[in-house]
Symmetry: C2
Subunit: 243 residues, 2 copies
C-alpha cells in the first residue's frame, strides 16, 4: 500500500489516496486513533465519479463518530482495465433495458458473478493493508455498493462485523444461497420505486439473510433518492455495533 | 376534559390523567410550552395494561424532544363498556387462530371497522380538548396502535401532520382504498416474523399509501420485538416534521 497524495478536508479529517498494487483507493481518518473502519462500497461507475458522495459520507463518519473510512476502485471501473466478458454483459444489459425486456438470469450472472469473484479478494487485501496501519483499529463495517459483493464479503471475511447494504442492484440467484450464510447484524436499504431494481427480489433477499439482527429500511423514491436521514441512521447503526 | 390526577414523573415531565366524557385518557407535558403533540395509539388491551410502554415513550419524547404526548382508552377496552358484535368478532378471531385457520375477511371487518368508526371521532374530540390547552401548541403527530385507526385519522383529520404506524394488526380490505388518500409523511414499522400479521398485506398497505414521503422499517422478530432504536428513530422522524 502506497500513499500517493493527502489533503486535510477539515481539521478533523485527513484524506489520503493510495494504490494497492494496481488498485487505486482512498482512506479517510479522523483525528482520534486507533479508529474503527468502515469500508464504503459503491456502484461500478468509477471512483472519480463517485468521489463527492464517498467523501461526503467519510467526512460525516469521521467528524461525527470518529470512524475511519476507505474504499477501492472496482475491477473494470475507473482507470482499471476492462475485460471482454464484463463489457459484453453490460452491453446485453443495456440492450435488454432499452428494449424494455426483462433482464434474464444469464445477463445478471455474467454481469455480477465475475465482479464478485474479482472484487472480494481485493477488498480483503485492502483490509490486510488498512488494518496494519496504526491509526486504524477495528472492528470493521462494510456498506453500500454492489450488494452481491457485500454478501460474499460478509460470508467469507470474519473481520467484517456488521454491514449496511443497498438493495439496488441485480442479484444472481446463486447469491440467495450465500445470503442464508450471512450472520452479522445487517441494515438493508431499499428504494421502493427503484427503476432498475426488482422490489420483490430485494424483499426475498432480505428474507433470506441468516442474520438474527436485520433491519430493512424502504423509502419512497427512485434509485438515487435515498434520504439523507438514512446516512445518519446508518452511522448510528454502525456506532451501536463498532464498539 | 377533566383532569382527575397528576404526578411528576421527573423534573421535566408532568403526567395527568383525564376524562373526556366517559373516556379516560393520559397527558404528558414537558417543562417547555407550548409543545408539539404526539397522539400515542395502542392495541385494544386497555390503558392500564399498556401504561408502562406508553409512559416510557411519552417520557422519552418529553425529556429528549420537548414533545407533549397523549392517549385515550379505546372503545370496548379497559373499563369502557364492551359491545356484543366486538366480543363476537374477538371470539371468532380466537377460534380461527387457535384452529390454525386463516382469518377471514368477515372476521377482520367485524373486528376492526366498528372500532375505527367509534374510535376516530373520539381521538378528534380529544384533539379539540388537548389543543385548547395553553401548554399544547401543534402541529400534531400520531403513532402506533391499531393501524386502521391511524389510517382513517390521517385521512379525515387535517390537524394530524405526520404519522408513525405499526403494521402489526389485521387490516380490512376497505382500508387499502383509504390508504391511497393518505398524503402526510409516514413511517411504518413492520416486524418481519409477526406471528399474527400477514407480511404481504403489510407490504401491500405500505405500497398503497399515497404519501410522497414514506419509509418502511422492517426488523427481524415477532410482534413485540421492535428494537428500542426504532423508538429513538421515530422520535427523530417526528422532530424533523413537527417544527
Amino acid at each position: 500500500m502506497h500513499f500517493t497524495s493527502e489533503q486535510r478536508l477539515d481539521d478533523a479529517v485527513l484524506e489520503r489516496a493510495f494504490t494497492l498494487g494496481e488498485i487505486p483507493g482512498l482512506l479517510w481518518t479522523p483525528a482520534s486513533a486507533p479508529a474503527p473502519l468502515i469500508l464504503i462500497g459503491h456502484p461500478p461507475l468509477g471512483l472519480r465519479k463517485m468521489y463527492p458522495r464517498l467523501a461526503g459520507r467519510a467526512r460525516y463518519y469521521a467528524a461525527e463518530y470518529g470512524f475511519a473510512a476507505a474504499t477501492i476502485e472496482l475491477p473494470g471501473s475507473g482507470e482499471r482495465p476492462r475485460w471482454a466478458a464484463a463489457e459484453r454483459a453490460r452491453a446485453d444489459l443495456r440492450r435488454a433495458m432499452e428494449a424494455g425486456e426483462p433482464v434474464g438470469d444469464e445477463i445478471v450472472d455474467a454481469l455480477v458473478l465475475p465482479l464478485v469473484e474479482k472484487a472480494v479478494p481485493e477488498w480483503q487485501a485492502a483490509l490486510d493493508a488498512l488494518l496494519s496501519l496504526p491509526e486504524i483499529g477495528g472492528p470493521v463495517g462494510f456498506e453500500g455498493g454492489v450488494i452481491s459483493i457485500g454478501v460474499r464479503l460478509a460470508v467469507v471475511e470474519p473481520r467484517v462485523a456488521v454491514a449496511g447494504f443497498f438493495a439496488g442492484s441485480f442479484v444472481p440467484a446463486a447469491m440467495f444461497e450465500e445470503a442464508r450464510q450471512v450472520t452479522i447484524p445487517l441494515r438493508v436499504l431499499l428504494q421502493w420505486d427503484d427503476e432498475g431494481n426488482d422490489r420483490q427480489a430485494a424483499l426475498d433477499l432480505f428474507d433470506a439473510f441468516g442474520s438474527k439482527e436485520k433491519s430493512l429500511h424502504a423509502n419512497l423514491g427512485g434509485h438515487t433518492g435515498v434520504p439523507r436521514s438514512e446516512m445518519e441512521d446508518g452511522a448510528r447503526f454502525f456506532a451501536r455495533h463498532l464498539k
